[in-house]
Amino acid sequence: MSVTLNDYLLVSVLMFVVGFFGVLMRRNTLIVYMCLELMLVAATLALVAFSRYNQTMDGNVFVFFILTVAAAEVAVGLAIIVALFRRRHTVQLDELNALKN
């Protein structure tokens, strides 16, 4: 049994869905952050699978851009989380609700 494009896409969509609902449901900032990265990785996996199937290099090149963007996002995101932890001593989203009506 060989692994086909559809198998890759299935895994990718599953990862994306897990990440998406993780972002919406988990309450710990760091886990939410991991879920965001999971979504990007899911997109990357689908991209590589499509690129291989389509026999074009665009997808593979795009992956480098996505990785760079993800790295920049992590750098800024972790800085914000650390700064927030220093002020509020928590990373639980439930407790970070000072902004409201």
Partner: protein, 507 residues
């Protein structure tokens, strides 16, 4: 790949085509170098240099408005230059100049580094200019992420203030989520367009180019994966413009972000999102039967939600954020109309321009009225504005009147053009919702004007829990000139548009 091929590709790059963006990048780096080189007591000159540099680039862009690159694709099809792009370049430069001017008094109230603020604003502006000219999904994604990551930093810029950091975290989570949706949509489109069994001959190698995607969509008007991709891309952009159901981040982030950044989010980020949506109307036009209902439902829900939620707000930053949601709704009506009638594109651009002018008048007043805690700006703080500073009260009243769409101010003409375009396109239901929305919006805009002009007005909330009326800075002469200019522009554009409307509609 051999070296000659790379050299040939590099020689074809037309760097002149992106000269304004390159100059912005150099200016941003120059500011950082200046911070190292200049002695500490001279650092006050850096904001002035940033503003003057941007004005010089704006003048250069205006002089070069009809540049030789119009109508061409550069960088191997990554960018396409046309008059829309030129208009948006001028628009974003105006935005960033005004944000930098607002930044000076706002940063003066805080203990934070100064130079990086101007640096990031300029970088974000350059990225937005590239974003609206992109003609390829890789370019679009990278430019959009540069903008978004810049905004993460800017929103949490007042890092000693937990509210600013909290807004930054919320924007980070929501922004990254929307970027992932957009990215997944792009991947699906790439997957189907490049599929060797479906694709048109020769198109497989350029599967992320807008032209190829359009040709593919025309040839395959009912492809399931392409539909999923289109909906995901639209969802990703809807997050950026704050359309329902992706508007949840707007009030919190607008409240927590520093006021100049709120202005940049409200005007620049939203305009970038709409320019991309307008650029994509051409690409997604073959799937009109899918895109138009999705955008129409979004537009109607956005107008109603924005206006109804704004009714109950007492914090002016949340108020302006939610009213901005409703403006996104009116603009979406224009985008839907653009799928039927290309003339509507001009109406959307004109609306964005008057929105810029009126918003910055209001944000300018907000910058002065707010105290040290940037997130704490209640309607009560405006209680004696008319007595304490009649000039600011007039600017505020005219800016808000224009946002509400009161004739004869510019906002009225902007709304009128969008509504006429919607009428021509036959969008009667949306038109009705939009008019109801405008009527509702007059209530809260006038509540704000009333708070500023009538000193005896007191809100339903008691004064306790709201900080004391903040000490106000003296308004500098230059700042007065800028605010006065914006106000006069609002009034003049309301009664006389000159050749602007035909010019915008002609392209």
């Amino acid at each position: 790949m051999n070296l000659d091929l790379l050299q040939a590709a590099a020689a074809k790059n037309a760097w002149g085509a992106i000269l304004p963006e390159l100059l912005l990048g150099l200016l941003a780096l120059f500011l950082l170098i200046l911070e190292i080189l200049l002695p500490k007591k001279r650092h006050g000159a850096i904001p002035a240099i940033a503003i003057l540099g941007q004005i010089a680039i704006l003048v250069g862009t205006l002089v070069n408005l009809r540049s030789g690159y119009l109508g061409t694709e550069t960088f191997g099809g990554l960018l396409q230059h046309d008059m829309h792009g030129q208009f948006m370049r001028v628009f974003f430069l105006l935005t960033s100049i005004l944000v930098s001017i607002l930044g000076v008094p706002s940063l003066a109230k805080q203990q934070v580094p100064r130079v990086e603020f101007f640096h990031i604003v300029i970088v974000v502006t350059g990225a937005m200019m590239l974003l609206v000219q992109s003609h390829h999904f890789v370019m679009l994604f990278v430019a959009l992420e540069t903008v978004t990551i810049g905004f993460y930093i800017l929103v949490s810029y007042f890092r000693s203030n937990p509210l600013s950091l909290e807004a930054g975290l919320k924007y980070l989570v929501m922004g990254a989520l929307s970027s992932s949706l957009l990215l997944f949509g792009i991947v699906f489109l790439y997957g189907v367009v490049g599929n060797p069994e479906l694709s048109l001959p020769g198109a497989a190698s350029t599967a992320m180019d807008f032209t190829s995607i359009r040709q593919f969509l025309e040839a395959h008007p009912d492809n399931f994966l392409a539909k999923v991709g289109i909906v995901l891309v639209l969802a990703g952009i809807a997050f950026k413009i704050g359309a329902v159901p992706f508007q949840i981040w707007i009030p919190d982030v607008y409240q927590g972000a520093p006021t100049p950044v709120t202005a940049l989010l409200a005007v620049g980020s939203k305009a970038a999102g709409f320019a991309v949506l307008l650029a994509l109307t051409g690409v997604f036009a073959p799937y009109r039967t899918l895109v138009v209902p999705v955008l129409s439902v979004m537009a109607g829900a956005t107008i109603l939600f924005g206006n109804l939620a704004a009714l109950t707000q007492y914090n002016v930053k949340r108020l302006i954020g939610l009213s901005g949601v409703s403006h996104a709704g009116y603009l979406l009506v224009g985008v839907v109309a653009a799928y039927h009638d290309p003339m509507a594109v001009g109406a959307v651009y004109f609306y964005l321009l008057v929105y810029l002018i009126a918003s910055f008048a209001v944000f300018g007043v907000m910058t002065y009225v707010c105290g040290e805690n940037d997130a704490d700006q209640e309607l009560e703080h405006y209680a004696d504005l008319a007595k304490a500073n009649p000039f600011l009260a007039v600017v505020l009243a005219i800016g808000l009147g224009s946002l509400a769409g009161i004739p004869p101010l510019a906002g009225f003409i902007g709304k009128l053009l969008v509504f006429v375009a919607a009428f021509h396109a036959g969008l009667y239901v949306l038109l009705g919702i939009a008019i109801v929305g405008v009527v509702i919006s007059i209530y809260y805009y006038f509540g704000w004007i009333k708070a500023a002009v009538f000193p005896f007005w007191s809100g339903r909330r008691t004064a306790e829990g709201v900080s004391q009326a903040c000490p106000r800075l003296q308004v500098g002469l230059l700042f007065k000139l800028v605010l006065g200019g914006l106000t006069i522009a609002t009034v003049i554009l309301g009664v006389y548009q000159g050749g602007l409307i035909p010019w915008l509609a002609a392209r």
